[in-house]
Amino acid sequence: MSSKSPSRGALLVTSATSVLIFLLIWETACRSGLVDPIFLPPPSAVLGKAIAMGNEGTLLANILASARRVMIGFLAATAVAIPLGILLGTSVFGRAAFNPILSFLRPLPSMSWIPLSLLWFGITETQKYSIVFMGTFAPALVYVIEATRNIDPLLIRAAQNLGASRWNVMKEVILPGSLPQILSGLKVILGLAWTCVISAELVAAREGLGFLIMNGKEFFQTEVVVLGMVLISVTVLITDLCFRAIENRVLRWQK
């Protein structure tokens, strides 16, 4: 058996071919009448709808509306979760005080916040940001706490023995040590934020990918539903790539 690993190009061609074959089978199944287009539209119909909506300008408007809600909700959640998580990760008493609250918040799906958020914020954009925030805050906090706790205590003790202040231990040991795990956790949370925005857009939304899917469902426009699903996947993929680029830049020292 050859130990030579396949080239990057060969792997890319394999991936692209598998996608093409998948789309071809899907299209053929729909066109041959094997699958009723009301139940599953062919990819060509989804593409046609995307082009039509692109020409109208509604496609980009929906993507941007969702992306804005995701980014604001996600950034607000991380802005609170990172410092709080580091604090709780380094404080036994802090964890003892906060863990019961976190255990209560963590299992709550973002949809369960809809009734209360409507009462608190009304039919506003803030209500949608809050859904994303509540859906991502607790998991982000857990990632940050765990990342901070995973720092080797020997490193902290060594720094302290060398005379480092509490701030220096935080800056030179805890932050750099936990950052890789925090960033990989936030990458997962960003994907989660996209599922939250769908919940947020089920109620009182006029645009956005979640709204697109729900409105398409009401009028049995399955190509719109599938288009919304595809766009969410593609957008998550793009944001994931962007996040990876940031990760590579921030964690250059780790390579």
């Binding site: 039919i123 006029r206 009401e218 009028f219």
Partner: protein
């Protein structure tokens, strides 16, 4: 008793085959159990009363009641073959017809509820034009949404002149009361809740809808539909079903107080509100059906489909008469 592996497999296979054909174990039923897609909405009152008052039993029919939150979910279940007969808002049916779905037919029109759906305002607003620059809350993809779009268009306003917000029906009364929206379009029971709020005026109801005067068609009338495959193999059962169904509509029309009592279990409304809800609709008789299904009303539904296209709710207008089947009346 010891059962060998072969006996067990044989028995299990026979049970699965029996269940797959939908036949009850032991003996074949004369009539199939009809799976009905309902909810607490008034359009389902006849089917519920026919079941609870024993009218279906008199016709040797059984009904399995399944609840759905929206017409589109109910119609999805019809498409998947899970529901045989259902009352649905016609907009969902028209949306499916526009996609060429031939899986169902419209077999009756239960009622007209035009007086329990409308647009409320407060603060002395006298006409829709005065709502320019303000916010109207309405549940998107509903009949009330179409009413709002129609009223805006009739007032000569553009879509951007008024902000139309998508608010779920149960949230409308609170949003309106809290001042988050300047106007609210709703149907019963939210219609009744909003009407009770202080300083509220009913600006328009379904009778101001552009198709109402000429065709008696509201923005989203209810229709009774049957799954075609079911109707083809159980035509006699569907006819018997309608006999029981219209006995219930007669009770609703002629004796609303008597009809209201069993319905309170379905809707959780108090007696006075329940009687009010029953009286809020005009219940059509079996004799009126031929006129509705063959006459101007269907033309009105066709115009409604065209209006939905004009308001960009559906892509194309189906030929509605192709889905009308008066043969069971």
């Amino acid at each position: 008793m010891d059962i060998t592996r072969r006996q067990f497999i044989g028995g299990a296979a026979a049970t699965i085959a029996t269940m797959a054909t939908g036949m009850p174990l032991g003996a074949a039923a004369a009539n199939p159990t009809i799976k009905y897609g309902g909810s607490a909405w008034l359009g389902h009152y006849p089917a519920y009363l026919a079941m609870t008052n024993g009218y279906l039993k008199e016709m040797q029919l059984e009904q399995e009641w399944q609840s759905f939150g929206t017409s589109s979910s109910r119609m999805s279940a019809v498409m998947a073959g899970g529901i045989d007969i259902a009352c649905t808002g016609v907009v969902s049916a028209l949306a499916l017809m526009a996609r060429g779905a031939k899986q169902f037919s419209i077999i009756a029109i239960p009622e007209n509820f035009g007086r329990v759906e409308g647009l409320f305002v407060k603060g002395g607003v006298k006409n829709i034009a005065e709502l320019k620059g303000k916010k109207i809350g309405v549940t998107f993809a509903s009949s009330a949404h179409l009413l709002v779009l129609d009223l805006i268009a009739k007032a000569g306003l553009k879509a951007d002149d008024i902000t139309v917000l998508n608010v779920p029906a149960p949230e409308l009364p609170a949003a309106f009361q809290a001042g988050q929206i300047d106007a609210a379009a709703a149907w019963t029971p939210q219609f009744d809740l909003i009407r009770k709020q202080p300083g509220v005026t009913l600006l328009a109801d379904d009778t101001q809808f552009s198709l109402y005067k000429s065709f008696n068609v509201t923005p989203g009338p209810d229709v009774l539909i049957v799954r075609r495959a079911f109707a083809e193999s159980n035509a006699a059962a569907v006819k018997s079903y309608l006999t029981a169904y219209f006995k219930a509509t007669a009770l609703l029309r002629d004796h609303p107080a008597e009809a209201a009592k069993p319905l309170m279990k379905l809707t959780n409304l108090g007696e006075a509100d329940q009687v009010g809800a029953v009286k809020g609709a005009d219940w059509y008789s079996r004799e009126q059906q031929a006129g509705l299904l063959k006459g101007q009303y269907v033309e009105g539904l066709q115009k409604l489909a065209e209006l939905l296209v004009a308001h960009k709710q559906i892509d194309k207008a189906p030929s509605v008469k192709d889905w009308i089947d008066p043969s069971f009346i």
